[in-house]
């Protein structure tokens, strides 16, 4: 066996440097599992991180990020197709295995995972280099075959071409030989003017499978001998299992086992419905925990008290208190946002098989490395013995990026107990009751204007649970008592206000919380963009002109604002009962402005009629996916703006399914236009940044029509 130490060293060094750049050509699954190294010449096997070329010329791109709808299995392969010069229709896509040494998120350090709208920003250079390196190795192989200088050769539509002779060798023909070529240390990336794929109108790779029922989500997986489990969990957060009587559950048809696990009581059956019926028959008693008596009303009452006390300082420019005291006009307001469940259409689920040599997990996984570690702890094995097979997720929005790996570790515990493959299924009620919510927050703002209506002081206090406290992210995310995920979008307020203070109270509550699509900006954008509108009104200024005057040093904010208001015909009269509102916000290094048009009936019922969105996400690699993410982000944000809330009573969620945890329906979807700012800046994320501006834009539009300031979400569908 001809191990090639140099290539192995390359992989390791690449991973250590954070470049993670390796590539190879084809290899059999069995060999790949056994060896991360090339095998003898002639078999053309090679180590492989991102690209495989089969003898038939098929190019497979391995995507390390979870496809949950945001289009990573389209945008990332496009980067390879561009540099490798492969026609788009010849590209195949596979989810990469869990292996942080090859597939870490470059923006997160030694961890594989998807979130923070990082996939494209991470991959833009990494995958182009992977493609370009493969291209140069294929050229080298062709040069050797033809005994010519590599410099004169050209990659063209899945083949290497010798323009001098007209000879062509396809990538399939060259794959074996290319695997033996030296990995070039430096490769030249194409210049943007030569792009054939990036920024062009190519199609998603997953649409057909998602239109004929063949796309495989975690919930769809079936293994031989597999059983299905549901878990009875405490309905009140923090309660613990006191005792349970399995008798009636075990007597139900199909039920195989009932036993306690740390999360509650597992009911394992031959199929999903039998497990659900078995759980209904289960008798379990729970001991009251720290959430007993806790209600949303009490939480907000305590938050209002906390908002009277200074918190940990997130930003402190000038002297806001002094400037406030000296201002000509003072404006104060409080904003409230509730707990929110992610409620992806695919309820949580996980398939686990525990075997002698380790454990296999199949699920739509956002946090592979963390999930490997947590699963390994349950089993007492090394994390690299936990093999994660990442499938499509039917949405996630952050729910599957959980430092506790809650939905995975319970499945591992059950599979370990059973000794056969087990699929766990969460019902919709389990999902809505299950916690890991976007925290509820209170924002208390006060600002001072001078005699000319210019804001001189801005004081912003945020009260709400820290998402990262108690997790491995705390060390990196919490500085001087400030969890950045609580203040992002507020502490970096772009408006030029000389005296500006933002501080934070982070009370601890026994309600598990988590990031939710656009994280801190889900609430900071609402508070800041409604409040700035209030200041504009107090100053007697047009909301757009007022913002413009304060954004002189923020050209990218200004550009999206200008584009959106221009396309929305800001200032042009609307029918009676209609109004416009605007918001502009940066999140995850992308800039989005949205103008919402609403119509309000005499009885106060309103409808969001139209939204004009402008986005600057740097270079738009996949323009149609960018548009889709803005459309979807606006619709997702509208769910929260109008309807969604989890409220607590006696420590339990009062909502349980889509009848009372409402999300946007077809009839409520406005007509959305998306305009992309032309840019050659490095690409930034689009999965999340469409969400934050819509709630404030709608609230501001409703103010424009009704004169009523709406400072509490959800808004409902009527202004009272």
């Amino acid at each position: 066996m001809n191990h090639d130490p140099s290539r192995r060293a390359f992989i390791k060094a690449g991973a250590a440097l954070g470049a993670g750049l390796t590539l190879g050509f084809h290899l059999t699954a069995a060999r790949a599992a056994k060896l991360a190294i090339p095998t003898p010449a002639g078999e053309a096997f090679a180590p492989n991180a991102f690209i495989r070329i089969a003898p038939d010329g098929t190019v497979t791109v391995l995507v390390k990020h979870l496809e949950m709808g945001q289009g990573v299995q389209t945008g990332l392969p496009a980067l390879v197709a561009e540099e490798l010069e492969v026609p788009w229709q010849d590209i195949r896509v596979e989810a990469a295995p869990a292996d942080a040494s090859l597939y870490n998120n470059l923006l997160w350090g030694p961890m594989q995972g998807t979130g923070g709208s990082t996939a494209m920003a991470n991959s833009y250079e990494q995958l182009r280099r992977a493609g370009a390196t493969a291209r140069e190795m294929l050229k080298a192989a062709a040069a050797q075959a033809w005994q010519v200088d590599q410099a004169g050769l050209k990659a063209d539509a899945g083949a290497i071409l010798n323009p001098a002779t007209g000879q062509r060798l396809s990538y399939g023909q060259l794959a074996d030989a290319a695997a033996l070529m030296a990995v070039p240390k430096q490769v030249e990336l194409k210049s943007a003017k030569d792009f054939k794929v990036i920024g062009k109108g190519f199609k998603r790779t997953d649409t057909r499978a998602k239109s004929d029922g063949s796309a495989q989500f975690g919930l769809d997986l079936h293994l031989d001998g597999m059983l299905t489990a549901v878990v009875a969990r405490p309905q009140r957060f923090g309660d613990t299992l006191d005792k349970f009587d399995a008798g009636k559950a075990l007597a139900m048809p199909g039920v195989k086992a009932v036993f306690a696990i740390p999360a509650g009581v597992a009911v394992v059956a031959a199929d999903t419905w039998s497990a659900i019926k078995g759980r209904e028959a289960l008798k379990a008693d729970w001991a009251a925990g720290p959430a007993a008596g806790l209600s949303s009303a009490a939480i907000f009452a305590s938050y209002r008290d906390l908002a009277k006390q200074p918190g940990a300082v997130a930003r402190n420019d000038g002297d806001a208190a002094k400037a406030l005291a000296g201002s000509a006009q003072r404006i104060a307001a409080e904003f409230e946002v509730p707990y929110l469940a992610h409620a992806p259409m695919e309820p949580l689920n996980c398939v686990v098989q525990v075997q002698a040599d380790g454990c296999d997990i199949w699920t739509g996984d956002q946090f592979q490395t963390m999930d490997q570690n947590n699963a390994a702890k349950v089993l007492g094995i090394a994390p690299d013995k936990v093999r994660i097979h990442t499938l499509f997720a039917g949405g996630s929005f952050g729910r599957r990026a959980n430092a506790q790996s809650d939905y995975i570790v319970e499945a591992v515990a059950i599979a370990k107990h059973m000794g056969v493959p087990v699929k766990t299924v969460w019902t919709r009620e389990d999902d809505i009751h299950g916690g890991y919510y976007r925290p509820c927050y209170l924002h208390a703002l006060e600002a001072g204007l001078d005699a000319d209506g210019r804001p001189m002081a801005w004081q912003h206090r945020i009260v709400g649970q820290s998402i990262t406290a108690g997790t491995p992210f705390e060390a990196g995310m919490v500085k001087n008592g400030v969890d950045n995920t609580s203040v992002e979008g507020a502490a970096n307020l772009p408006y030029a206000i000389p005296n500006l203070r933002v501080d934070l109270q982070s009370p601890k509550l026994p309600v598990p919380v988590l990031w939710w699509r656009s994280v801190g900006s889900t609430h900071t954008a609402f508070a800041t963009e409604v409040f700035i509108d209030e200041l504009a009104h107090a100053a007697g200024a047009d909301p757009v002109a007022f913002r413009r005057g304060l954004l002189k040093d923020h050209p990218r904010h200004l550009a999206v604002l200008d584009l959106a208001v221009d396309k929305a015909n800001w200032g042009k009269p609307l029918p009676p009962g209609w109004g416009r509102g605007v918001a502009v916000h940066e999140s995850f290094n992308s800039y989005v402005a949205e103008v919402a048009e609403v119509s309000v009936q005499p009885n106060g019922e309103f409808k969001v009629e139209r939204v004009v969105c402008a986005v600057d996400c740097g270079l738009a690699v996949t323009p149609d996916v960018v548009k889709a993410q803005m459309e979807g982000g606006i619709g997702f944000g509208l769910s929260a703006a109008l309807h969604s809330a989890v409220t607590l009573e006696d420590g339990r969620a009062e909502q349980s399914n889509f009848d009372d945890y409402r999300i946007l329906r077809m009839k409520e979807m406005p007509r959305i236009e998306v305009h992309i700012v032309a840019s050659d800046a490095p690409p930034t994320g689009v999965g999340e940044p469409g969400v934050p501006p819509i709630a404030p834009a709608v609230a501001n539009a409703l103010f424009a029509v009704t004169g009523k300031r709406l400072r509490k979400l959800p808004l409902g569908s009527r202004v009272s």
Partner: protein, 152 residues
């Protein structure tokens, strides 16, 4: 044993008659294109056709389907679904895609009865099918595009 036809093939299943059709399709017949979203007919992800009419399979007891003909996303055929699939591809309608089996089964029923629906008719027909990714605008546009294809 409960006997019925799925996608043109006869099937007999030995399950309690109150088992939802959804779980029979998914767990017993392994037709997993039909999705579980809520279990209470709030979301429409589980939409199938029973004797040609759309139904939310999470809320249909399999015992009530005896002798009937069920069509799922895997089995639906003909010019309407092909036009919808072509439109879905043309506009890249799905994002996560999980709800789209149900969306397409519902849309196919709409177009079968109303070859040129307007926005309001589309909204009314599709309002029971939730999409958490909010692909609603492209669903609307996709149905219009499919209607144009069928009219051509």
């Amino acid at each position: 044993m409960i006997s019925f036809t799925v996608n043109g093939k006869p099937h007999s299943v030995d399950v309690p008659g109150d088992t939802p059709l959804l779980w029979v399709l998914r767990d017993h017949l392994r037709l997993t294109g039909t999705k579980f979203g809520c279990g209470e007919s709030f979301c429409g992800a589980c939409t199938v056709h029973i004797d040609g009419k759309p139904a939310k399979s999470c809320s249909v007891e399999v015992g009530k389907v005896a002798g009937k003909s069920v069509t799922t996303i895997e089995g639906i055929a003909g010019p309407v679904i092909e036009a919808l699939r072509a439109a879905w591809s043309e506009l890249d309608v799905p994002q996560c895609g999980y709800c789209h089996s149900g969306q397409l089964m519902r849309a196919a029923d709409l177009l079968a009865h109303n070859p040129r629906p307007d926005d309001e008719q589309i909204d009314a027909a599709m309002n029971g099918n939730l999409c958490r990714c909010a692909t609603y605008q492209r669903i609307r546009d996709g149905i219009h595009a499919a209607a144009r294809r069928l009219g051509a």
